[in-house]
């Protein structure tokens, strides 16, 4: 055994392309599968969330104006970066108790999921847009457009594959997002932020916070400059569901709930996850000489 002392990583948040600590200076402890402490994660506040939403909002214009091809390449680039760090992410999953084989399966599925959505980036518009044969003299067409800023509660129990499965369709469609990492297993999310940071994803497109869901739920669902809220945990209790829906009425936030049990399932990926975060715009263009 070597005498070398290991250098431990400080896990922070990811906001606007930077890695700040929470403004509050608060933390909570994250443990491994054997109840040993792994890290002090940031216990983010309403203010951190608001900062993240500002960054996400500012990034909408630029990101949604990128060409579909470019967004596809950036999604693909994330997959490339993740592939080169496969070992790191597999190990990270193992530290929280995932079996080695299962960890590898999940990391590989997460990489493939990014590739899946990368490929959709310039196709969903063709599949879900339409040219409408109106009776008047107009060229009339409908196209999906991103909603804007999406707040996301990724699955609590699938810290990498689940996380990527909910972020990828949202950003493939030109939205930006603020993600509150799994409360119990937040570290993969912060490590994934490092991947995003080296993948040509513009700052602010994906923002990742850590902290208590119970503390941030209200702020994530009531923030009026957020267009949609996305959550997936099948075990979300009735009262919480109701609260999320009610908070969404403030600014008619789109509340998208996909209670997925198994993120390895074929059903856990589909272009409908992209269109759930799109508005349909219809344009009437004049026709004539």
């Amino acid at each position: 055994m070597s005498d070398r002392i290991e250098v431990l990583k400080t896990y922070k948040t990811y906001i606007g392309g930077n890695f700040p600590r929470t403004e509050s200076g608060r933390y909570y402890k994250v443990y491994d599968g054997d109840e040993n402490i792994l890290a002090n994660a940031c216990r983010c506040t309403r203010k951190d969330l608001r900062n993240a939403v500002v960054e996400a909002r500012n990034a909408v214009d630029g990101w949604s104006s990128r060409s579909a091809y470019n967004r596809g390449q950036i999604l693909y680039r994330i997959a490339e970066m993740l592939e080169t760090r496969k070992a790191q992410f597999t190990e990270e999953l193992e530290t929280i108790g995932t079996k080695k084989k299962q960890a590898r399966i999940e990391v590989e599925a997460a990489i493939d999921r990014l590739i899946y959505y990368a490929g959709w980036s310039d196709k969903y518009q063709q599949v879900f847009g339409s040219i409408n044969p109106v009776a008047s003299s107009h060229f009339n067409f409908s196209m999906p457009e991103p909603m804007g800023v999406v707040n996301i509660w990724p699955p609590g129990e699938s810290p990498l594959l689940g996380l990527i499965s909910v972020i990828a369709p949202v950003i493939t469609g030109g939205n930006t997002c603020v993600v509150l990492a799994s409360e119990k297993y937040p570290l993969s999310a912060i490590s994934f932020a490092e991947v995003l940071n080296s993948s040509d994803v513009p700052g602010g497109v994906v923002n990742i916070l850590t902290g208590y869901r119970s503390e941030l739920l209200e702020h994530m669902t009531t923030h009026k400059d957020v267009n949609a809220f996305f959550y997936t945990d099948p075990e979300t209790d009735q009262e919480t569901r109701k609260q999320i829906d009610e908070n969404g009425t403030l600014n008619l936030k789109r509340i998208i709930r996909k209670p997925v049990e198994n993120w390895l399932d074929e059903e856990a990926q589909s272009p409908y996850y992209i269109t759930d975060f799109q508005e349909t715009k219809t344009t009437w263009h004049p026709v004539g000489l």
Binding site: V127, S130, N132, P133, V134, A135, S136, H138, N140, S142, E145, M147, N227, Q238, E239, R241, K242, Q243, I244, D245, E246, G248, T249, L250, N251, L252, R254, S270, P271, Y272, E279, T280, K281, T282, T283, W284, H285, P286
Partner: protein, 476 residues
């Protein structure tokens, strides 16, 4: 210029003294035997009375719809379902004249509009969706579409039969059954439509029509055995509905208010644009959720456009909805009339400059002169809030970016217009305006194939076109 009167005869349109509820294929009296009066807004006289549906009636209607859903309607071959819907389209066409007259009498809209827009579009809507019934596998790539069950639908008073068709046609085409509540001031054509359902031989309970005010609507929204709510109306009520559906598995679509920007560039064909602005705001007395109620004129042509607008407004004829010369009919109800007048007052008090055409208006009935406000600020209530009347605010802009920023500075996002001679500018503007519909060099055009619906607080979901099927299906 003076025109002779050109009244449309109302002789062939029968209006009974009292209308019942349409439940399970029959006209039935309401359990509590309460009726309310419906007024012709152009005469202020009672036109007829409608039944008020209460809890027991709503239960009955939902049961009838459930029974029809589980029975004949879901067992029927899709192509046969489609044929019923085709029949409804044809029946509307056959009785179009009668429907048009009734629509104008009940709601106050000019006969020219109910005749040329509302009724033909309603028929077209049924015709369009009829054809989808047996083709749904082509609508949702990779998925199988299943009906939701019973749809509760609540529609507004501005386009009564047309909104009914927007709701019922896609619901039936996708295999759902319906409980529909028309607006309390304009329920007449919905009950006439119920007669068509009988004439078409539509299985009992597939379409149920219950009348009443907001209380009846909330009974539909909160009914446990309703699977989906489709609502068109104000953003305020839409939020109440969304809230009351919180925590349930009911699906919903909301088509809500708007404050449509209409953006006129210096290179626009000015005369056409002026016609377009007039149509955008004064069509249907401005009772249009997508009305172009905020005009943005590029600075260089502002004076010219405002002058031309005033000149054009002088020629608009406000009066008898049944007169074929009438451009602007009656305000739909006393309540709405008061609301509009209140906003005129607010506008003046906010310091805006008001201009109204000098036309004569009838002494009886709820009529409002076409109105425009200049010298308004972005923060003025008349710029921010939906008035739902013939009231236009005018602002200017210099660059396209400024026009876009002002156009988007609202919680609404339903529809808007762009006027320019340059095609590339149309596409650019359309992609930057956060609205569900953008009309270029035109305004207030509707078509059954064309999806309609809002961004932001103007609603959720789309009606019309292929996209209008989605809110009525589960994808497996």
């Amino acid at each position: 210029m003076e025109y002779d009167e050109a009244p449309e005869s109302a002789d062939h349109a029968e209006v009974k003294d009292q209308y019942e509820l349409f439940i399970g294929g029959e006209f039935v009296a309401p359990e509590k035997e309460r009726y309310f009066s419906s007024v012709n807004p152009a005469t202020e006289k009672e036109l007829t009375t409608f039944a008020e549906a209460t809890q027991q009636d709503v239960d009955k209607a939902v049961k009838a719809a459930r029974k029809a859903f589980e029975g004949p309607w879901s067992e029927m071959e899709a192509k046969e379902r489609g044929k019923y819907i085709f029949r409804l389209a044809r029946l509307i066409q056959e009785r179009a004249r009668e429907f048009a007259v009734l629509e104008s009498m009940d709601g106050g809209k000019p006969i020219r509009e109910s005749r040329d827009v509302d009724i033909p579009l309603a028929a077209a809507h049924f015709f369009y969706y009829a054809g989808w019934a047996d083709k749904l596998t082509y609508a949702f790539p990779g998925k199988k579409a299943e009906p939701l069950g019973v749809a509760g639908q609540i529609i507004p008073w501005n386009f009564p039969l047309l909104m009914l068709s927007w709701k019922i046609a896609p619901a039936l085409a996708t295999g759902n059954t319906v409980v529909l509540k028309p607006a309390e001031t304009t329920s007449l054509t919905a009950l006439k439509f119920a007669e068509l359902c009988q004439d078409a031989g539509l299985p009992d309970g597939v379409v149920n029509i219950i009348t009443g005010a907001g209380q009846t609507g909330s009974l539909v929204v909160n009914h446990d055995d309703v699977d989906k709510i489709a609502f068109t109306g104000s953003t305020e009520v839409g939020k109440i509905i969304k809230k009351s559906l919180a925590g349930t598995d009911k699906r919903y679509t909301l088509e809500l208010g708007g404050k449509g920007p209409n953006i006129i560039f210096e290179d626009a064909p000015i005369n056409e644009a002026v016609e377009g602005i007039i149509n955008a705001i004064f069509f249907n007395q401005g009772h249009v959720c997508c009305a172009g109620s905020r005009l943005f004129v590029q600075e260089g042509i502002a004076d010219k456009v405002v002058q031309k607008l005033r000149d054009r407004m002088e020629t608009l004829i406000v009066g008898d909805p049944l007169d074929k010369n009438t451009d602007i009919g009656a305000i739909n109800s006393e309540q709405q009339f008061e609301k509009i007048n209140k906003y005129l007052e607010i506008g003046v008090n906010e310091g805006a400059e008001m201009y109204q055409s000098s036309c004569d208006i009838p002494e009886v009935g709820y009529f409002c002169r076409p109105t425009l406000f200049t010298n308004v600020a972005q923060s003025n209530r008349i710029v921010q809030e939906e008035i739902f009347g013939p009231v236009l605010t005018i602002q200017t802009f210099r660059t396209a970016e400024e026009g876009i920023a002002k156009a988007n500075n609202t919680p609404y996002g339903l529809a808007g217009g762009v006027w320019t001679d340059k095609g590339s500018k149309i596409f650019k503007m359309s992609s930057k305006i956060r609205n569900g519909v953008v009309w270029a060099n035109t305004y207030n055009k509707f078509d059954p194939t064309s999806p309609f619906g809002g961004y932001k607080e103007s609603g959720e979901g789309r009606e019309g076109g292929l996209h209008g099927l989605y809110p009525y299906v589960n994808l497996k």
